[in-house]
Symmetry: C2
C-alpha cells in the first residue's frame, strides 16, 4: 500500500465512529494520512470509548463542533441519518473542505445531503465495500480496507481535484478506488450486497419459526450450510434497515429477479428435472474461482475456518452500538 510522505488532509472529522469510522481512524493514524482527527458520536458511551481507545485527538458532543475547521469530513452514520447530519454540519463547514460519507447506498444520500451543504465545499460521496458482521468502535481495525474496493460517486460538475484527493486518501487506506454514477452503484450493490443480506436475514428468520425443527437442531446442525448465512445476518440492524429503505427501487428489482429464478429451481425440484439443477450448479463454481483470483476472497477451503480446533468462546458478536 502507498506510504504517504505527508498528510493528505490536515484535519479529518469523523461523524460517527463505528466499525467503519474507527477503522478509518486507525488506518489514517497509522499511515500518517492526516494531522489531526476530530470525532463526534451520538451516544455518550461511544464518545467515551473513542476517547479511551485514542481513536481521535478531540471528541465532540455535537457533529457541528467536530466538522468545524476540518479539511475532510467523513460522515460514518447509518444511511437514514446522513441528511440530518448534513443539516447540522452544513453551516459550519470550512470553505474548500471535502465532505464525504461511507454509506452503502449513494443516490439517496446525495438526495438527502447535497441540498444542505454549502457551494463552497466539495461533496464526494464514497462507499468502501468492506466490513465485518461486528459493529461499534471496538470492532474496527486498520487493515479493513486493504485490497477492498472503495466506490466514489461524485455528481457531475464536482471539482476533479477534490475527487483526486479523496481517491488518494482511500488508496492510502489500502483500497482500490472506482468511480461510477450513483444510480449504477446502487444497482451493483443491490445484487452484490443488499439482496444477499436480505435473504440471509430471511432464512435465519424462517429457520427460527419452524415447528417441525427446533432452534437447538438448527444451531447444532448449522455446519451443513446455514451458518454461512448467519454471519451477514448478524450485521447491524439499523444500518441494514436504512439500506433497504433507501435503495428500494434497485433492491425490489433484484429481489424480483431472484424470486423468479428461485421459482424456476423450485419447479425443477418439483418435477424432478435434474438436468436444469445440474447445469446451473455447474456454472456457479466459476464465479467463486474468479472472486478468489482477483483477491476478494480467501482461497482456503471453508473460508480458512480452523478444523479440529475448538474455538475460544470470545469474542462473540457484541450488542449493538447505536452509532
Amino acid at each position: 500500500m502507498p506510504e504517504a510522505d505527508k498528510p493528505i488532509f490536515e484535519r479529518l472529522a469523523l461523524i460517527g465512529v463505528g466499525l467503519i469510522g474507527s477503522s478509518i481512524a486507525r488506518a489514517a493514524r497509522q499511515r500518517g494520512l492526516v494531522q489531526t482527527i476530530a470525532a463526534s458520536a451520538r451516544s455518550e458511551a461511544t464518545r467515551r470509548r473513542v476517547a479511551e481507545l485514542k481513536l481521535a485527538d478531540q471528541v465532540f458532543d455535537t457533529n457541528a463542533e467536530a466538522a468545524k475547521d476540518a479539511d475532510l469530513v467523513i460522515v460514518c452514520v447509518p444511511v437514514g441519518a446522513c441528511g440530518a447530519v448534513a443539516v447540522e454540519i452544513g453551516p459550519v463547514l470550512k470553505p474548500g473542505a471535502v465532505v464525504s460519507d461511507v454509506g452503502s447506498v449513494k443516490a439517496a444520500i446525495i438526495h438527502d445531503m447535497a441540498p444542505h451543504l454549502p457551494k463552497s465545499v466539495h461533496f464526494v460521496p464514497a462507499h468502501p465495500v468492506a466490513g465485518t458482521e461486528h459493529s461499534g468502535p471496538d470492532a474496527g481495525f486498520a487493515e479493513l480496507f486493504d485490497n477492498r474496493w472503495c466506490i466514489l460517486t461524485p455528481v457531475n460538475g464536482t471539482d476533479p481535484e477534490a475527487v483526486e484527493r479523496l481517491k488518494a486518501f482511500w488508496e492510502a487506506l489500502g483500497s482500490n478506488v472506482e468511480i461510477m454514477d450513483a444510480q449504477h452503484h446502487d444497482m451493483v450493490l443491490a445484487i452484490t450486497s443488499h439482496v444477499p443480506h436480505l435473504i440471509a436475514y430471511n432464512i435465519v428468520h424462517t429457520a427460527e419459526h419452524l415447528q417441525q425443527v427446533t432452534e437447538s437442531e438448527v444451531i447444532k446442525f448449522s455446519a451443513g450450510g446455514f451458518r454461512d448465512f448467519t454471519r451477514i445476518a448478524a450485521s447491524d440492524p439499523t444500518m441494514w434497515r436504512d439500506v433497504f429503505l433507501h435503495n428500494k427501487e434497485a433492491v425490489l428489482e433484484m429481489l424480483g429477479r431472484f424470486s423468479e429464478d428461485l421459482a424456476v429451481l423450485t419447479r425443477a425440484i418439483r418435477y424432478g428435472d435434474g438436468k436444469t439443477l445440474f447445469d446451473l450448479f455447474t456454472r456457479t463454481r466459476a464465479i467463486r474461482r474468479s472472486i478468489i483470483e482477483v483477491g476478494q476472497e480467501t482461497a482456503e477451503p471453508d473460508f480458512g475456518r480452523k478444523h479440529g480446533v475448538k474455538e475460544p468462546p470470545a469474542p462473540l458478536p457484541r450488542p449493538y452500538a447505536s452509532d
Copy 2:
C-alpha cells in the same frame, strides 16, 4: 477426541473416495480405528489418486470386490447412486457386516438401499454434517469431522449393538453422534443445509444473468456480502442435484416458507415499513451467537478471513471429481 485402544472394525470398505470418503480414510488410519482399508471408485483417475495418496491398502475396480469381506462398508457416493451400489454389493456382503453411507438425505437412501441388502447385515444410515466446498480425494483431511455432528438414522428393529459400534466409530473420527428418525433428519437438513445451498446457487445464478451489472462488477464488489454465498454455491453439482431430487418434499416445504417470509420482507421494503425490517434484523444476531457458543462456527470476525494479506493464488476450487 477418544483414542481407540484397538480397531473398532477390522476391515473398512469405502465405496467412493471423494471429500468425505477420503477424510474417513485419513482419520480412521491416523487414529487406528480399522486394520485394513479397501476402496473402490468409479473413475480410473480417482482410483489412481487414491493409490498414490495411500488412502487405502487395496483399491478395486468394482464396488463388489471392495465390499467383500469388509466388517464396515461405508458408501460415499452421491445420494442418487446409492441404490445401484446396494444392488452391486448386496450379494457379496459378509454376514454381520455393518453397512452405512454418508448421504445428506436419509429416507430416500433407506428406500433405495435397504431392499437390496441381505438380512444378515446391519444397515445403519449415517450423515456426517461436515464438508467443504471442495471435492475429490485430494480435498479430504483427517480433522474434517472433529466437533461436527454425525446423525445416524437406523430403522426400527436394527441391532442396537451395530448402532453402538458405528456410533463409537464416528465418535472416534471426532464427531458428536445423534440418532434420529430419517424423516425428521430430512426436515432438519432441508432448512439447515439444503435450502441454504439452493438459495446460494440461485443468487449466484441471478447475478450472472444481469444486464445492468457486469460479471466483473459482481466479482469486484463481492466483499459486500455476495462472496459468502459463493462458497457453498461452489459445492459439487452432482451431489447437490441428487440431494434436491431425493429430498423433494421437505425442500419444497421449506422453500415455500422461505418464499412466504421473503414476500413479507419485500412488501416491508416496498411500503417503507422500517419497523418490520429492524425487528427481524435484531433477532437474527442471537442465532449466530448460539452457533458460535456451541462450537459450530468460528467466533472470529469475517470467518477469520485474513485482512491486509494478499491471498496466495492456490489452491483454487478444482474441477469436479466424478466420484
